[in-house]
Amino acid sequence: MQTDSMYQEIILDHYRHPHHKGLREPYDAEVHHLNPTCGDEVTLRVALDGDTVRDVSYDGQGCSISQASASVMTDLVVGAPIETALERAEAFLSLMQSRGAGEPDEELLDDAVAFAGVSRYPARVKCALLGWMAWKDATAQAVAQRDSVTVATKESPS
């Protein structure tokens, strides 16, 4: 059956038992992203520790692909240096844009390679990217906030 290529067992496992789910304190930035064509949505928080992603917590509703992808994403970015996490986000994005022709780097993407089949279904690619895009946005905001605070502190006369 063709759907097997999309609904890999790894994906269904993450969907049934999502990792890092639920919103946690403290956090540096929170974003709310939605997919306007289908109504899927996610609220996601990022906490940084220097140049490392200390925690990512999230809540939302969506299909198995969007929920499983968010779960896998947290495994790949929590505890990783921001730079490495961004590299993984880029690798996942290119995999999703490959229309089934991508050869995923398993070392970089780990469980996320299971989503290779999803890239053959253009309507579902946005589902798989929802959590990743929210994470990138929240991380960019957290970094910008941290940098502006650093700059402000440096420039502060006291």
């Binding site: 759907t3 299909c63 692909i65």
Partner: protein
């Protein structure tokens, strides 16, 4: 009189009786097996050589050969810019375009062919009225625009924008959890302050057919204009604009066997004649100087630029096709299918129908959710079986919010839908439930 084989072939006899499928005393049943042959796409095989089960007709309908041929014939033999030039092709193109206007006018029982304005789609038709009313200065602070909570975004956002441009207040009639308009407070919502009430005839997400007469009666009492979004009704039931007694009526060609790229605005001639232009340019003018221009009479006033002639040819052919088959017979076929589908889906455990539970005042667009399975996943697994449905919020996000669901799965029928296809839908839903456990 016997039911056509295609109408009954795949439904077990007991369910057929129970669901009321079979010949109706008033109108002859459709010969569905035969008319399906008019639609080449319906013989397509998809995925693992499965028959296509097309249940996404509320999004767009399929096209019969007659429509495709009319468009091809236009381009092969008559292509020219309508309303321009004196050569033979220009005359023929004009005749084709204006002939389509006559066909649509007759289809709607419009008293005057000049009341038919061709647009790009229903969305443009609604925007035309919203912008023209605003341009005419017909609304301002203290005035009200009334819509309903079940409007498609195309009959919601243009009114939000009009209210922002003019300072008029946007109000809406609420929807009950039974999927019906809450009309108890209609007199308080539709008042002397209301300039226009715009509402959907048949909901694309709930399937509800709204009581036009109740709203029109009140609108007449207070002198409000009435615009009816008829996208989901014109393709599926006989429509008489004079009997409906509304002021404007909007719909798209592609949901009624016609091509994309053409829609219709019907409006009372005196009202159209009193409105200023929306889009402007060639074709819509009377006299032009460098400083100022005067405008053509309706409908040309609202048809700037070279129009969509091939699409008009296609829409005209679609009107002929539907008229030949008979709108009462199509409506009856869909009523029986809807009753059968509601009954079949109601028997599915963990499935909840979003919208009226019976076929009374209800059309053949059925939204549902399955406990524990997201509509996207339902739609994906149905697609693997060749069953095409729509998943998402169907451009009616407020209704999804009201029912507390992010999205629904929607199956919608048309003249070529068979009970066997509804059985395939139910089997596909059961399989999705097994897959996700």
């Amino acid at each position: 009189m016997t039911a056509s084989p295609a109408t009954v072939a795949t439904a077990p006899a007991d369910r057929r009786t129970a669901s009321g499928l079979g010949p109706s005393p008033e109108v002859p049943p459709l010969d569905v097996a035969r008319l399906r042959m008019d639609f080449p796409i319906l013989s397509r095989r998809v995925h693992d050589d499965r028959a296509l089960v097309y249940l996404d007709n509320a999004a767009t309908s399929q096209k019969p050969t007659a429509v495709l041929e009319a468009m091809r014939d236009y381009y092969e033999l008559h292509n020219a810019a309508a309303h321009r030039g004196v050569h033979v092709l220009a005359e023929e193109a004009t005749d084709i375009y204006e002939g389509a206007r006559d066909k649509v006018a007759a289809f709607l029982h419009a008293p005057d062919r000049r009341e038919i304005v061709f647009t790009k789609n229903a969305t443009e038709s609604i925007n035309l009225v919203a912008y023209a009313l605003g341009n005419a200065g017909r609304l301002g602070p203290g005035d009200e625009i009334l819509i309903t909570q079940m409007e498609h975004h195309s009959n919601l956002v243009p009114w939000q924008l009009l209210s922002q441009r003019t300072g008029a207040t946007l109000r809406w009639i609420p929807v009950t959890l039974a999927g019906r308009l809450q009309l108890d407070d209609l007199d308080a919502l539709l008042t002397e302050r209301t300039r226009i009430v715009a509402f959907v005839h048949q909901s694309n997400i709930l399937g509800t057919v709204n009581p036009v007469d109740v709203i029109v009666r009140r609108a007449r009492e207070v002198g409000a204009l009435v615009l009816l979004d008829a996208c989901q009704s014109v393709p599926h039931q006989p429509i008489d604009v004079q009997a409906l007694d509304v002021d404007f009526l909007a719909f798209s060609g592609h949901k009624m066997c016609g091509p994309t790229g053409i829609g219709v605005l019907w409006g009372r001639y005196d009202l159209l004649a009193a409105l200023p232009p929306f889009l402007s340019g060639g074709s819509m003018i009377a006299e032009v100087t460098m400083e100022v221009s005067t405008y053509a009479d309706p409908p040309q006033r609202f048809e700037a630029g070279v129009p969509m002639i091939a699409e008009a040819a296609g829409l005209g052919a679609a009107v002929d096709y539907l008229t030949d088959i008979g709108m009462p017979a199509i409506a009856e076929h869909e009523r029986q299918l809807t009753a059968y589908a509601l009954r079949s889906l109601a028997a599915v455990d963990r499935l909840r129908i979003i919208g009226p539970a019976t076929s009374d005042d209800r059309g053949g667009a059925i939204s549902f959710v399955i406990d524990g399975i997201h509509p996207h996943d339902v739609g994906q697994l149905l697609d693997e079986r060749g069953v095409a449905v729509r998943v998402g919020h169907h451009c009616v996000r407020p209704v999804c919010q009201l029912f507390g669901v992010p999205a629904t799965t929607r199956a919608s029928f048309y003249l070529y839908t068979t009970p066997g296809e509804i059985d395939a839908l139910v089997e596909g839903v059961e399989r999705a439930k097994r897959f996700f456990g």
